[in-house]
Symmetry: C2
Amino acid sequence: MTGLPPSNRLPARQGLAVRFEQWSAEAFDASRCPVRGVLDRLGDKWSTLIVIALARRPHRFGEIRRAVPDISKRMLTQTLRDLERDGLISRQVFPTKPPSVEYRLTALGESLLEPLNALVAWAEANQARIGAARVAFDAAAAMTEAPLPGLEVGGR
Amino acid sequence: MTGLPPSNRLPARQGLAVRFEQWSAEAFDASRCPVRGVLDRLGDKWSTLIVIALARRPHRFGEIRRAVPDISKRMLTQTLRDLERDGLISRQVFPTKPPSVEYRLTALGESLLEPLNALVAWAEANQARIGAARVAFDAAAAMTEAPLPGLEVGGR
DNA sequence: ACAGATGGTCTCACTATGAGACCACGTCTT
DNA sequence: AAGACGTGGTCTCATAGTGAGACCATCTGT
């Protein structure tokens, strides 16, 4: 990531720029662009996590809950429904005694793994930089709020 | 996208799988994984849109609002602050008479364009499939709710 | 003199979210 | 035999997040 020559970035920038101009020009407003709908779904807090969990193998409802511990049943159900509605995962009920339900990625869902992997790799490679930026930003903000040095002892 | 051989998907799947196992194994719960923080920020409704807008060129506050029409001032301010805090964009105030403010991507922010472009390309390539899946799902759901054919005229 | 544009902040109402109770069913424990 | 537990959910309720729009100080144009 760090070793990439800058020339590798330009196509991405231009790719996005061209897309964006097309959206703006064709639809006249970006809000109606259909990619927005896709990005919004992917953009919610849990979709990507669930897709990543299912990337390993099919999971049952409770397994996903254990894999993503801080999701509530309510949101898990809802997000799974949304992902199923979008054709990214499939839901299969097994007539076992307490009926069990298995969720797995569809072909469409699997095709999402490529770009998602790129994003996760970026996040992993740059989380330290982002963390440092946050610390620096918060420190600067604290200085602006209370610009008297010597009175600041522990920060807040 | 459609023409990709399946073998191209496997590395992505395994890459995510391996990452996920490492998160689960090392931190013992996925909720503390730092990538989560990054993904959450990128996952909010507006961050990606703003980054995409800034991919073209630096924008002023009002320009971004015009580029992303359905964002409120409140959320625009907040999202810009967050992106700035994470070191993805920089904020520069010009001492013009009504002072103007320019936002631009930092090097870190530009490095995000590559994976983001991949994601947007995927969204663009698959939005039709997703739309079709939604229609199919809603139709199936309507059938389940009201399984009597002949009584359903217009649907709902 | 007054509207408009600049980049925000603040309040208020509405919506989305999380915590947890509840359900029907069957198995396991006591 | 009675009660606890696990299955996959749904439902309600309190709280958190969000969008709409008023408001602010300053300068420019008419």
